[in-house]
């Protein structure tokens, strides 16, 4: 067993900081890499060491294998944690790490290749007796091929990046006229996200539930699951809200799917943290969708109900330790929900919205966790994912968790950029969500309530008064702060004396 002393985190944003936090708790030194757009990003400042990796576009920085390996060697890192996205499911990278004697914190390159290739993954699952989503074989090389395949299996279909994940490089096609632009867009996204623009086609299942199981396995053949996550609230095929337990789940189904997930992992000699994604229909039939051979964005809800730090376990497994717990030691305690906060405009088709953050109030107190990375004055770059923070709450019951999430979202204020926060609040007030009655079409089906603004109980006249005062203050402002050296000031405007009603 090799004790890891220094880890390079080949990522940015909230996940880089998430990993570094656990490293600090384990007394492991951290090495950050940063692109030209990220010199003042928080992960650079949180790390013990930080090195420039390349230009802003990810293909020249966070996907630059040679440069990352060079930095790892230069800084004497024992191991590399890839986070999610970028190189986390890149077998070439995992192989390079192995060749250079650097521990890749993740499964073996062989498993990444096999599970990353969605076709091969389906074959492996079928062999292990696990039902798979109906679909076609093989990857698609040209747009003409797509049209040919659609002729065969009919519409609607999903165009999916073969190397995909995290909802990137996916497009639903309902009409022939959409094919060309859908393929081009999926390709282009896949290229910049994964460095691989191959896509394939899958039959589109109507009204499914997206439920996944968290797997943790060591290098000694011990494999457990850490229960399910319900991830059906999605927009643009990207998860928006996750919860555990799933409102759909029964104890029997949980055991059956959990065992299937463990079997699936064992079938490919999996080790580390991984996720088996299933589609579940309303009759509770489930189909293997894909395996993500990395940490998921939504891993914190599993951490909250099981009490297991998944990053710590990833590092322990990478060191070669045996898992310290067995399946029977694991319990789901209470209910956890995660809301992803995106810099985007929910009123405008969820269009990503880069820009400068003006002010932030972070929700705190009982049962609330935030994993974010932006700060006041931070300029969100246009080059990367629009997710700026994750808000995770826990409650003894699902109702308590929903009420707490509503409270936390109320407290969460990020100004200067458009975000999904108010939209997420509306989900927490949605009757179908509250009753647990939703599938992956939740957003479309509840569009009217979700996109309509709340009745105006708002103090519009107070906004007008505030604006007036700010305006008068600015035009009358003669006290331009030109003093060179000034100590800390109260930010509240000085008035000669404070009155009270």
């Amino acid at each position: 067993m090799k004790k890891i002393k220094k880890i390079l985190i080949a990522n940015r944003g909230e996940i880089a900081i998430r990993v570094m936090r656990t490293c600090r708790e384990l007394d492991i030194e951290t090495v950050a890499i940063y692109s030209e757009a990220d010199r003042t990003s928080l992960h650079v400042r949180y790390a013990h060491e930080a090195y420039y990796v390349g230009k802003a576009p990810s293909s020249e920085s966070y996907l630059n294998i040679d440069k990352i390996i060079e930095i790892a060697k230069r800084s004497n890192a024992d191991a590399i944690h890839p986070g999610y996205g970028f190189l986390s499911e890149n077998a070439v990278f995992a192989t390079r790490c192995e060749q250079e004697g650097i521990i890749f914190i993740g499964p073996s390159p062989e498993v990444i290749v096999r599970m990353g290739d969605k076709i091969k993954a389906r074959e492996a699952m079928t062999a292990a007796g696990i039902p798979v989503v109906p679909g076609t074989d093989g990857e698609i090389e040209t747009e003409e091929e797509v049209l040919a395949v659609i002729e065969e299996i009919g519409l609607p279909v999903m165009i999916k990046a073969s190397a995909g994940g995290g909802g990137k490089g996916m497009r639903l096609v309902k009409k022939h006229s959409e094919v060309v632009s859908a393929v081009r867009a999926a390709r282009s996204e896949a290229k910049s996200a994964f460095g691989n623009d191959a896509v394939y086609i899958e039959k589109y299942i109507t009204s499914p539930h997206h439920i996944e199981f968290q797997i943790m396995a060591d290098q000694h053949g011990n494999t457990v699951h850490l229960f399910e996550r319900e991830c059906s609230v999605q927009r643009r095929h990207q998860k928006m809200i996750e919860e555990t337990p799933s409102p759909l789940m029964t104890a029997e189904l949980r055991e059956k799917m959990g065992n299937a997930a463990v079997e699936a992992a064992k079938a490919v000699n999996y080790y580390g943290a991984g996720t088996i994604e299933f589609l579940v229909d309303n009759e509770l039939n489930y189909y293997f969708l894909e395996m993500n051979t990395r940490l998921q964005v939504e891993h914190p809800i599993t951490e909250r109900v099981t009490g297991i730090d998944l990053v710590k376990q990833q590092i322990y497994v990478a060191e070669g330790r045996e898992l310290a717990f067995k399946q029977e030691d694991l319990k789901q305690k209470g209910h956890a929900i995660e809301c992803r906060v995106y810099a985007e405009d929910p009123d405008n088709n969820f269009m990503p919205c880069a820009g400068k953050v003006y002010k932030i109030s972070t929700p705190l107190g009982l049962g609330v966790r935030t994993d974010g990375y932006v700060y006041e004055g931070y300029e969100i770059p246009i080059y990367y994912d629009p997710m700026i923070s994750k808000l995770i709450v826990w409650g003894k019951t699902r109702n308590e968790a929903i009420a707490r999430m509503r409270r936390a979202l109320y407290e969460y204020k990020i100004t200067g950029v458009k975000t999904s926060i108010k939209m997420l609040e509306r989900v927490m007030n949605n009757e179908n969500f509250i009753s647990g009655n939703y599938d992956t079409h939740f957003i479309e089906k509840n569009e009217e309530q979700l996109l309509s603004k709340a009745p105006k109980k708002d103090p519009i006249d107070m906004v007008i008064i505030a604006t007036l005062i700010d305006y008068l203050d600015k035009i009358g402002s003669t006290e331009a702060n030109t003093k060179e050296f000034t100590p800390a000031q109260s930010r509240w405007k000085k008035i000669p004396y404070v009155n009270h009603f």
Partner: protein, 169 residues
Amino acid sequence: MAIEIKIGDRIAWVNLLKQDGNILEVDVDGKVYEVDLMHTADGTFSILENGHSYNIELVPEAEPKKYTAYTLYDTFDVQVIDAEARYLRNRNANGASSVENKVTSPMPGKVVKVLVSEGDVVKEGETVVIISAMKMESEYKAPKDGVVKKVYVKDEDTIDGNQLLIELD
């Protein structure tokens, strides 16, 4: 001092009647409020009105005297219309440059592809530019039938928010 303030579609007439430190008497469209108002230079407001506690954040926009206002439940576009703003507005009204001739990008991003050239004939709804921001591509379409008068960007350009991309005739 009375001015006009535009909030959403509403234009309110507002007048500060009295100011005694943090206690203000303000007339908003004929309704008189007495409020206890504390604020910071960077736009955080705490207003107590009839016992109620209101928090408002004003975020200045790039254009002077324009704000985005954040309240508990909502976000508003707010604009102060003083004498100067009225003058500018009147002057622009004479210029009559219609917004409908223009394709602009509300967000910063990168130009993936410009699909038209100057002089091209385009139809309403036809994609003219593709912009990529934060891993998502958006297609910008012609707002009406017309002829491309000027193309302001080229492939690979990095663009700011509210930037003009294409002008039609």
